[in-house]
């Protein structure tokens, strides 16, 4: 038994239970003790993962069901960070709407636990367990605003479609199990590589697995839930859904497709390319038509996921995986920086919202540059980063993916790069529109904007990170690369 591998998860589980109990005695409507205890817990878990990630060692526990490798630890570390930021943005927002109950913290911690399990799963069942733990917590969180029709509808939709996707994934996994006779991811890889498994069953299984993963990432044509859930959920929960779970979805994609089915890459890469181009097209074009900011960002997420999938789709070229480290680490860098930017955008929407005014429409930002130049500046940084304009970090993420595409040297991939680039031109339009509304339009709202220095500071820090991490992206890129190399080498 190798307990230290799962030490962070154990800490998190224990503390989630403790916090659930402690909260019963908290009378403060802002739930400050619970809040700080939650933050402290997540910080401790993040620190543990960081320590593990730094050591660079690959260990496994529970008879190979759980793995502790740099990929899992780095993603888990960023997931913790994302969750901390999400909870920090959410607390005042929920408190002012009387939605801040103890459940919020407990559910957030359990969702995080699910995410961490997904990051370190090396076994189909463990992976599925983590996925369901995360998903069920998120369904409940989406329905946090119980007396609100849109919110309830969103939760319902999320739950039904999510269950369907889980079913897809499970069905695919069971086919893989049937073909290979094992549930352990490294053993699955071995048997596929040895050619002992029936190819038809494997390919069919991989179709279902990819469909399930595409749902979790929100790629076209499995994207229908994204706009509704993003719009319907309370913004605090949207932020949570758009943040850490994306990292977890990336983690299980890596585990299942790359670690488990690398020899089938030719098959699933084609599927990913179709999903990617579809996502780029639908996401970018549909986002133009949106007037609701959260919904627009949802479509933008779909488009961003399309870009991410392109990175995952070029790891193996002509049967050789020389480019794999490059391609997958680009995708990892992309998802990490994307989550960072998303946290900021939704955080800003919450910052602007007041009781009775959700600040969800794009026009609600009108004249922000006149009222609060700092906030407008931060939002501008986020928008230009999502649009992929240098020197923001989003540009370097897109560049990494483009470079991975072009370095394969095949004409098809260069055409894909051009397609991706043209769609990001379409994308630039709706991001620019947000900047336009903030800077060029006259203010329509006159009610005061929140003055919380803590959140304002966090937003400024978030904006600075998106701006500065661009030119200084070298370190993070290397970190992602070494994590991926450790996985591929194993």
């Amino acid at each position: 038994m190798n307990w230290p591998v799962v030490l962070p998860e154990i800490v998190l589980l224990v503390m989630a239970c403790v916090i659930a109990v402690v909260d019963l005695w908290v009378r403060d409507p802002a739930r400050r003790p619970t809040f700080w205890l939650t933050q402290l817990t997540i910080a401790a878990v993040a620190a543990l993962h960081l320590l593990h990630a730094d050591s660079g060692a690959v260990q496994s526990a529970f008879g190979g069901m759980v793995v502790g490798d740099p990929l899992g630890h780095v993603l888990a570390f960023f997931a913790c960070l994302a969750m901390m930021v999400a909870v920090a943005y959410a607390q005042p927002y929920l408190a002012s709407r009387e939605m801040l109950k103890g459940e919020f913290f407990t559910l957030a911690l359990f969702a995080l636990l699910g995410i961490l399990v997904m990051c370190s799963a090396h076994h189909f069942l463990v992976l599925y367990l983590g996925l369901e733990l995360m998903s069920l917590s998120l369904y409940a969180l989406t329905a946090l605003r119980r007396d609100h029709a849109t919110s309830t509808e969103a939760a319902m939709k999320y739950f039904v479609l999510g269950a369907l996707a889980s079913g897809f994934l499970l069905y695919g996994l069971s086919m893989l199990y049937g073909a290979t006779g094992t549930l352990e991811i490294p053993a699955v890889l071995e048997r596929i590589a040895a050619g002992q498994a029936a190819r038809e069953a494997l390919v069919l299984g991989s179709v279902f697995v990819v469909a399930g993963l595409a749902f979790k990432l929100g790629a076209v044509p499995f994207h229908m839930w994204v706009p509704d859930v993003y719009q319907g959920a309370p913004t605090a929960v949207t932020l949570m859904i758009g943040g850490a779970p994306k990292l977890a979805a990336f983690a299980i994609t890596m585990r299942l497709l790359v670690e488990g089915m690398a020899p089938l890459a030719v098959d699933w890469q084609q599927m990913l390319i179709v999903l990617a181009v579809g996502s780029l097209a639908v996401g970018n074009l549909a986002a133009i038509a949106q007037t609701n900011l959260k919904r627009m960002l949802a479509y933008s997420t779909i488009a961003q996921m399309g870009f991410l999938l392109l990175g995952l789709a070029v790891g193996v070229v002509g049967g050789k995986s020389d480019a794999a480290a490059n391609a997958y680490s680009s995708a990892m860098f992309y998802i990490v920086t994307y989550v960072l930017t998303t946290l900021g955008t939704f955080g800003l929407i919450m910052f602007l919202a007041r009781d009775g005014f959700e600040s969800e429409e794009i026009t609600d930002l009108a004249g922000l540059a006149r009222r609060r130049p700092w906030l407008a500046g931060v939002m501008t940084v986020f928008m230009f980063s999502l649009a992929g304009i240098p020197p923001m970090v989003g540009f370097f993420a897109k560049l990494a993916i483009l470079q991975a595409l072009i370095s394969t040297g095949t004409t098809g991939h260069i055409v894909l790069a051009v397609v991706a680039v043209l769609f990001s031109l379409v994308g630039a339009f709706y991001y620019l529109r947000v900047v336009k509304v903030m800077y060029f339009d006259e203010p329509q709202q006159s009610a005061p904007i929140s003055q919380s220095p803590r959140l304002g500071g966090l937003l400024a820090l978030n904006g600075a990170a998106v701006l500065v991490l661009g030119p200084l992206s070298g370190g993070l890129l290397e970190w992602c690369r070494s994590a991926i190399v450790a996985v591929l080498g194993a």
Binding site: A369, P373, L402, Y439, F440
Partner: protein
């Protein structure tokens, strides 16, 4: 930290400081801080010219540090005879722009000044970057402040113009990004522009690269038929924005042809030179005619800019020294002259709030000092000898005649059209009887306006009378470039 780094980051830092700390309550402090920042940034660039070694084509004032390990990009700066004057021009024009916006801009002064200072630093970065990715980052980043400048302080259709400006330029430069990534892979993982110059490439690859770069730079120059964003942007932009657009931003595109298209894809450049020459001649002749019928002064100068930039690209793609040097001189002189023309329109607009030619007439009667300047700049715009406008056009025409007499003759018609549309505008706006009460009550230049126009007038005159310092600096680099382009790079 080298001189170039200071020249780039000093204005950016001052601009960021103004954005962060400036308030409209103490607008005057903001203006003075901006002026001091711009002046300091200009003074920093002077040693680049005085300390420039004109005997070598090698890069000078080089700074070369590792930047992002993963892409093997380096923070690699340097200037040669082709780029050094543009660094100075940028810093100089920024000083003028700060002075020009002094009393005119009263709303969000810190954002206005901050945007221009940051823009200035970024544009200097474009001219001095020797790393492909660094170049791209600066090239694209300039869009952000300009978008904001046009959108906030622009005219009635500013939003449309700002979007058009941004998306047009982005469309072109995204294709260049793909080209850069391709070169990176082909060169075995390097973004070094000078290494790309030496990289052998088959003609098919060169052709694709040539057109990818063409997409980026032709939009920026702008060349016919992708010029349509420029009249909109110019008309809607505030005076300072128009000045920077015309004086410097258009040059980024032309500079790109010299730094990327020609040396990286020389065979394709020679193969497709007829194409560029044809488009340039269309710009020179057709756009000249379009300028003739404009009712709006800013639009007229905008079209005149396109025609003048047609001369620049024409000069580049005839591949002789007179042509390329002439194109470069034309870029610098156009920087001064078009900037000055827009400032003159700004002076009138601030008083009457109209850009229509028909709203004026007989301005000379009420603003004699101003009219003297305006007519002088108009003459420079037509290419009158002894002004800066003459030198470049004359060199390009001479160079073209060396290649083909009829091409030269066609190009020379531009002088006729240029004189026609400029002088006709001058006649209608400045001369004749006083047209209306607006003109009757005009006040002549104040000290600030006099200063900014006088500075530019001195520059235009000096360059026209004694262009030798400019051509001397260029000579060796241009010869080297032509020698390089003449040699085939096919493997």
């Amino acid at each position: 930290m080298g001189l170039l780094s200071v020249a780039i980051w000093l204005p950016v830092a001052v601009g960021a400081l103004l954005l962060a700390a400036g308030r409209d309550e103490h607008a005057n402090a903001v203006r003075w801080a901006a002026l001091l920042g711009a002046l300091a940034a200009f003074l920093v660039t002077i040693p680049l010219a005085t300390g420039f070694d004109t005997s070598t084509a090698a890069m000078q004032f080089v700074e070369n540090l590792p930047w992002i390990e993963r892409f093997k990009v380096r923070y690699h700066l340097g200037v040669d005879g082709i780029s050094v004057w543009f660094v100075l021009l940028t810093a100089f024009i920024t000083v003028i722009v700060v002075i020009a916006g002094w009393e005119v801009v009263t709303d969000r002064v810190n954002q206005y000044m901050g945007a221009f200072l940051i823009l200035s630093g970024l544009m200097i970065g474009v001219f001095s970057a020797l790393d492909g990715l660094l170049f791209y980052v600066f090239f694209e980043a300039t869009l952000i402040p300009m978008y904001i400048i046009i959108g906030i302080w622009g005219g009635p259709r500013r939003v449309y113009a700002a979007f058009k400006f941004f998306l047009y330029t982005l469309a072109g430069s995204l294709l260049m990004l793909v080209a850069l990534a391709y070169l990176y892979v082909k060169s075995g993982g390097s973004f070094d522009i000078q290494a790309w110059h030496k990289l052998p490439l088959p003609l098919s690859a060169q052709t694709l690269l040539f057109f990818a770069f063409f997409a980026a730079f032709s939009v920026k120059v702008p060349m016919w038929p992708v010029h349509t964003w420029l009249p909109d942007a110019h008309v809607e932009a505030p005076t300072g924005g128009s000045v920077v657009l015309a004086a410097i931003m258009l040059k980024l595109g032309a500079y790109g042809f010299l730094r990327f298209s020609m040396p990286i894809a020389p065979d394709a450049s020679r193969e497709w030179a007829w194409f560029i020459i044809a488009l340039s001649l269309v710009a020179v002749i057709y756009i000249g005619l379009v300028a003739l019928v404009q009712q709006d002064m800013k639009k007229l100068v905008a079209y005149s800019s396109i025609a003048h930039m047609g001369f620049v690209t024409l000069g580049f793609f005839i591949f002789n020294e007179l042509g390329v040097s002439g194109g470069l001189v034309q870029m610098i002189s156009h920087g001064f002259v078009s900037g000055a023309m827009f400032l003159c329109i700004g002076v009138l607009y601030d008083r009457v709030h109209s850009r229509e030619i028909a709203s004026y007439g007989g301005v000379v009667n009420t603003m004699p000092k101003f009219t003297a300047f305006a007519v002088f700049f108009a003459m420079a715009n037509c290419g009158l000898p002894a002004t800066a406008g003459f030198v470049g056009e004359w060199m390009v025409i001479l160079g073209t005649v060396q290649v083909n007499f009829w091409l030269g003759a066609l190009a020379a018609t531009a002088l006729v059209f240029g004189a026609a549309y400029t002088l006709w505008m001058v006649k209608r706006v400045y001369f004749g009887e006083v047209a209306n009460d607006d003109v009757r009550t005009l006040q002549d230049l104040n000290a600030r306006e006099f200063l900014m126009l006088a500075l530019l007038a001195v520059a235009v005159l000096a360059m026209g009378v004694y262009p030798k310092p400019f051509t001397d600096v260029m000579h060796v680099s241009v010869t080297e470039l032509l020698r390089h382009v003449a040699a085939s790079k096919l493997p």
